[in-house]
Symmetry: C2
Subunit: 268 residues, 2 copies
């Protein structure tokens, strides 16, 4: 089935998920929607995030996608259960795949979740993990300084990154947890430094990397893979200004070919 | 949903998959079926493997399972497509999860498949990988000496294991492949030695470990997880002699509590 996979995010963070889908499923076409005009979602009320998410999701579904990937932890926490009921196509968020991978990885059932304040407050990761295995110990830490670091491309300044990591993670240095979930799609760009911060002793789970894997599993299950002969076409839809979006896109995914479309999505 | 998950194999190999399901999904009850009377399937014709597999699967479905896991590569290659159509419950084999994990893991799209002669001859792994990503290079090697090594519990004799590994894998020592799929449910018991044989330079994928992960994904998708309060009960059904089965079960999974039932399943 050669219809595209829809991937949505409030901004650029979900591009790390889209990139991983392109790597693991190179025959699939992607339609990405970045709601840059209203980004970030993290500081908004759940009700507002839910309204924006539904509007973006409706827009993507109207483009004929075969599956919707909610590549934003905040939007997943706020609206996944509604989206699942709203459409005939499968909907997949980033939280369950990250939770499941931590369960697979952890030997001592003791994990750390790093996420935005909104995602931590929602309790979505502990809930997802405990639904599968109620024996897990989970410590969640909000990391409000991580997203600006990545969005402003300062994540390449290793000195700044180390200072911010120390400020945010120092209370976790002595924990027994053997697994760390990156519960925000921006954090994979800091993954190497986070691994180093814990002396390589904790396994670091990239929810986006794991989500791509579950997208693949769902396509196999539903017999929905694109045919191997197909030449995938990627479309990037931006609500609002495209400048910063393209700048970051070219920085993160320099080799990807895509078509860019600007839309104006407002609340009625 | 507290109905059990059915796991089937020709013999004891599938216990490595059952063990991993119990670890990753500790609230789920398992009904395992080992067709020891007709084991191994690997040397039989596809047609015969298909008949036996259907008979065992029908038996498990009659026990009220909510999902069927075909924890045998030969049976998966021979009959998965038939089983998927035959029942209302979801059916999952070991080949797709292993293939998908190799795609996720490999950086250079060059992988090795180690499996029984039957599975290698079926071409099931290359087919599964190429369905998702047609750019992969895949080398398959039949390892007929591995299963006896494990079944006779000689896998603990490191000297014997190293000799057999060298005989079987020496032509692969210089390949560029960065990932090795263990395409038989017996091989995880040799995983550490196989990793060492390749100097720890190739990632080794355990199909059973990955299958448990996909069972979990499917349960989440279908909202079919057992409730966290449940006390899982495991049932082991053996067709034929139970002696060797229990001996190996106790050796591999010493801490598991189970009920054992002997049946006589013959062809009509």
């Amino acid at each position: 089935m050669n219809r595209p996979i829809g991937v949505m995010d409030s901004g650029v963070g979900g591009l790390t998920v889209a990139k991983e889908i392109m790597r693991q499923l190179p025959d699939e076409s992607i339609v990405y929607f970045g709601d840059l005009d209203r980004c970030p979602y993290g500081s908004r009320s759940m009700e507002e995030v839910r309204r924006f998410t539904l509007q973006v999701a409706d827009h993507l579904v109207s483009r004929g996608i075969k599956m919707l990937v909610v590549a934003c932890n905040t939007a997943t926490a706020a609206a996944l259960h509604i989206l699942e009921k709203r459409y005939d196509i499968p909907v997949i968020g980033v939280i369950n795949p990250g939770a499941r991978s931590a369960i697979q990885s952890s030997s001592n059932q003791d994990v750390i979740v790093l996420a935005t304040e909104g995602t931590v407050a929602s309790g979505a990761y502990p809930k997802a993990i405990h639904q599968i295995s109620h024996r897990f110990k989970i410590q969640s830490t909000a990391c409000p300084k991580f997203v600006p670091l990545v969005e402003e491309l300062r994540y390449k300044d290793k000195v700044v990154v180390r200072i911010v990591l120390h400020q945010t993670l120092k209370h976790l240095a002595d924990t027994r947890a053997d697994t760390v979930i990156l519960g925000c799609t921006h954090y994979p760009l800091l993954a190497d430094e986070i691994k180093d911060y814990f002396y390589g002793r904790k396994k670091v789970i990239d929810s986006g990397y794991e989500t791509a894997r579950e997208v693949s599993a769902m396509l196999t299950m539903l017999k929905g893979h694109a045919s191997p002969q197909s030449n995938p076409e990627h479309l990037m839809i931006v609500n609002g200004e495209t400048g910063r979006f393209e700048y970051i896109l070219k920085d993160w995914m320099p080799f990807i070919e895509y078509r860019l479309e600007q839309v104006e999505l407002k609340e009625e």
